[in-house]
Amino acid sequence: MDNAEREDILLSLMRQANLTGMGGKPADIAFHTGYQEKNVQEILANLVRSGEVTVSEDGRYHLSPDGMQAAETIMRRHRVLETFFQEMLGMDHDLAHAEACSMEHHTSDDTINRLRRFIRGNRGCHVPCHGHARRCSCKTLADCAQGEVVRIDAIRGCGRGGRLADLGLIPGEHVTIRQRMADTLLIRVKDCDIAISPEIARSVLVEVEY
C-alpha cells in the first residue's frame, strides 16, 4: 500500500471532519484527493482493519482517536515544511504548499524536528523557556532599584502589551528607572518618561547589563 495515498486519505477525512463535523464518503474522498474511488475503498478497508478509521451505518468513514493523531502528525509535518520553504527559502506560497504536500509523506519525524529547531534557532528566546533559563532571569522591572539601567527581555501577558510596545517598551530596549514611588515606577525609555503601575512593571522581564 502506498503510504502517500493512505496519508492523503487520513488528511482528507480530518479536513472533512473539521469542516462539516461528519465523516466522509469514499466518493467525496476520491474527489478531494484525486484518487480512484476503487483504490480509496481498498485503503479505507485497510485503515478500518488497523483501527485508525471506523465506519458508521450510513456508509460514512470516521477517524478514530488513533487516526486523528496520525492525521495531526502529518499536518504538522506539512506546516513545518511549508514554513521552511516559504519563510527560510523565500519560496512562493503556492509552490511551497505544493512541495510540502508531496514531501510530507516521505520525510521522517527526525528531519521535521530538526527543521523545526532550525527555524526556531534563528531567534533569541523571548520567553523563559527551559533551554534559556539562565539567560532569561526572572527579574522584573518591579524588582529594580532607583537609578538602575536594565534591558527588557520579554513582556508577559498581552493585556497592555500593545500600549507598552507603542511607547517603545520592546524586548532589547534599555530602560532607566528614574524614580520609585513605593512600587510605582517612573522609567525613561527612548528619552521619554513613563509612569507605570506595579502590576504592569511586574509583567516586564528584564536583564541587568554589566
Binding site: G162, D166, G168, T184, L186, V189, I194, A195, I196, S197
Partner: protein, 623 residues
Amino acid sequence: MKIGLIGNPNVGKSLIFSHLTGIGVEVSNYPGTTVDILSGVLCINRIPVEIIDLPGIYSLDGESDEERLVRDMILSHTFDVLIVILDAAHLERNLYLFLQVLEHHIPLIAVLNMADEAEKQGIEIDTKTLSEITGVPVLLTSATLGKNIPELIPLATQQARVGTYQVSYDRHIEAAVRTLMRISGSGSSRVFALLALQGIGNDPLLLEAAKTITGELEEEHRMPVSSLLAGNRHHAAREIAVRVVSKALGKEMRGLDTWLLTPFSGVLIMIGILLSLLISVFFIGSYLEECIVLAFDLWVLAPLANASLDPLVYELAFSFVIAIQAGLGIAFPFVFTFYLLMSVVEDTGYMSRIAFLADRIMHRFGLHGQAIIPMVLGLGCNVPAIMAIRQIGTKRERHIAAFLITMVPCSARTVIIAGIVSVFVGLFAALSIYLIIFTLILLSGLFLSRITPGTQMGMVLEVPPLRVPSPAMVLTRTWIHIREFLIIAMPLLIVSSMVLGLLGFYGVLDVIESATAPVVNGILGLPPFASTALLFGILRKEMAFETLIVLAGTATLTDVMTRVQLYVFALVSTLFIPCISTIAVLYREQGLMTAIQISLYTVFLGCTAGAIVHWISTMVPFF
C-alpha cells in the same frame, strides 16, 4: 481641502492648531465617542481649507477610542493632506507613529516641533536627510516661539508628498503580507494587509486568511503579531534617528522634577497645589457669584414679579429665569474659574505627575493613578468627570471610580458650603465638611475595592516634560471643559426647574414635605421646609441653597435655623444623591444598576452623616 494634524500627545499639536486657526474653533464630538475633535476653517487663495486637530495618539493600530477614531478617519480618506507633528526633542519615539502614517500613502508633510526645546538639549536634526529618507518635506518649527508656523500651510497645500519609505518587517511578516495582498486582489494595499494581521479591517475574506497566518506567526515567534510589528518599526525608527539626529553631550536637566516627583516633597507640593486651587475657586467663585445673582435679582426677577402676569405663566417664567440664574451663577464663577485654573495645571503637564504620585494610594481603592485625573476634574463638575472614566481600564475600575467621583464635591456643592457654612457658621466649619467628605470618599474606596468583583489593570502614562502654559491653549481647554457643562447640564436644569415649579404650583410639594417630615425633622433635626430644599438639590446642587433662602423668606438664614441645623443641611445636601445630570450621565455611561446603586448609597450616606452630626449636637450641650 481638508488637512489633519496628527501626532503623539504632548507634542504641541494643539498649540500649532490654535496658531493656524486663531479663534472660531469648532469643537465636535465624533459619534459614539467622547473624543473631542477641533476643527477650524482658513481661506487660502480663496480656497477654504479645513484644519482638523486629531486627538494625540501613540499608534494607529491600537484599540483605544482615540486610536480607532483616527484610524477610521484616515482609512476613509477624510483628509487630503496630513501634517504629522513630531517632537524634535524626542524624535526617535515620535518616528514610530510617523512610520505608521507613511504606510497609509496619503500626501503629508512632517513637522518637527519643539525645535527650541531640542536646541536647548543640544539636539541637532538633519532635516534634509530625513526628508530624503522618507520622501516627504520636513519643516522645523517651534510653536511656543511661533517660529516657521506661517510656512506650514503653504508647504502642506503645495508640497505634500506620499512618503517613499517603507519599514522592512521581519521576513515572516513580509511573506504574510505578500500572501494577503494576493488574496485580497490588486485593489488592496500593504497597509490593509498589515492591519488585517492585527485583526483590524472589514474585509471578512482578508481577516479570515490573516487569522490563520497570525496563528502560525504567533506560534512561531511566541509573541503577538502587534508586538512583532512594533519591534520592527522601533528598529526602523532607531535606524533613521541614528542617521539624522546628532546630540551634543549636555548635562541632564531635571530641574523642578527633582522636587515634584520625589515621594515626600512631591506629595506635599501636590496637596498644596490642589488645596490652593480649591481655595482660590472658593473665594473668587463666591465673590463673582454674589455679583451675578444680585444682578439677576435686580434686573430680571424684580421686574418679573412686578409684571403682574397670570400665576401659572409667572410660575413657569420664574422657574425658567431661576434656572438660568442658577446656571450662570454656578457656571461662570465656579465652573469657569475652576477649569481655568485646572487648564493651567493641565497645560504644564503636571496632571500626569499627580497620577504618578497618587498611583500608590489609588491602588488601595482598587484604582490606579490615572483615575485621579477625572476625580480632580470632578471638583469642577461631576458630569464631564464621569464621562472621562471611560478612559480608565477595566469594568471594576470604572465602577469604583463612578462611585467615588459622584461623591467628589463639585463646584455646585462648593457653592452650598461657601454660601451656607462659611458665611453663617465659619470658615473652619466649611473646611471640616470637606474633611468629612474626603474621609468618606477614602472609606468608600476601601470598602468598594473589597466588594467589587473583577480584575485590575495598571496604568501606563507618559510624563511629559514640564512646560510653561500658553494662554491660548488654556483658554481653548477651558472652553472645551465648560462647553460640556453648558450643553449637558444647562438644558436639564431649565427643564427640571420648570417641572418643579409646576409641582409647587399644584401643591405636590406640600405633600412631599409632609411625607418626608419624620426623617428630615425627626432624624436630621431640620425644619420641614428643608426637605423641599433638599429635593431641589437633586436638580442642581446649589439650588438646595437658593431654595432654602426662598422658602425661609430671608437671606439671613441664622434667623430661622440654628447654626447646627445649617451645618447639617449643608452636609446632607452635599453628600446626598448626585444631581439629576450626574444621574443621567451615570445611567448612560455605566448602566441603570450602577446609577441606582450610587443614588441609594449616597442617600444613605448623606442621611447617616447628617443624623450623626445631629445626634452629637444634642448630646454635647456646647453647640
